[in-house]
Symmetry: C2
Subunit: 115 residues, 2 copies
DNA sequence: TGCCTTGTATTATTCGAGTAATACAAGCTA
DNA sequence: TAGCTTGTATTACTCGAATAATACAAGGCA
């Protein structure tokens, strides 16, 4: 896995995992990779993944069944709600940033239609 | 000025300045704040701002007239082109990220229309 | 001329993200 | 029971972003 240097690795992995969950590649209730395994996959220290998982757990996206491992929250409605909130907040932030570049509604529409 | 902790300060200031320029709050040819002054404004070390300005200069957005200071590139067409490239690449990246969350064209349209 | 502002550069230091290497507890399973 | 896998925790270390404190060169200006 590749990481940018201007953002913390943990932050990038958190974002990655959210997309995996919201994108349905980790389904509700499904087990996610053990810390050590995922750390190896990312070529990253287990402590870093532990921190990532802790953040995801705080947000309620995953839970811990020690000693079976970590699992995606089985509540599909909750995940749906979280996904919607995430997308809406991302969209709002994005539009806000574009506005700072002087992008109005018309130009925004034009941009969304590109290729 | 406020900074997030999961991204380097320099990177955040680079983004900030690009938006100031692309948004026209620093016009083509206009002088931008001296390193020391802008560092004070951001409550940041002058070295950090120097690095930021060096990055912006590498991208051709600003130039140096020592010893008068730093100025926005006076070529309006160039700035327009850079702005367009920036916006298009931001939009492409954004759509790509949403796609990973399982957002299709229809949902994307719906999201853009929110609030 | 002499001061001020400007950018540029350097050295040493601080601080926190990430690493490395363990160790421990608890439960599943053969 | 014994071993494996799981999460959790701890300590020491590395490395780079950012800071702190200067110093220097060059041009504008009073």
């Amino acid at each position: 896995m590749e990481f940018k240097s201007n953002e913390t690795i943990a932050s990038q992995i958190v974002t990655y995992m959210k997309k995996e969950i919201f994108g349905g590649r980790y389904q509700a209730g499904q087990k996610i990779p053990p810390i050590r395994e995922f750390a190896a996959f990312c070529s990253v220290n287990p402590n870093t993944v532990a921190k990532v998982y802790a953040i995801l757990e705080t947000e309620g996206l995953i839970y811990t069944d020690s000693t079976l491992g970590k699992f995606v929250n089985p509540n599909k409605e909750f995940l749906k709600k979280k996904r919607r909130e995430y997308l809406q907040s991302e969209m709002a932030a994005f539009k806000e940033e574009l506005k700072k570049c002087g992008v109005d509604e018309e130009e925004f529409l034009c941009l969304t239609k590109q290729e």
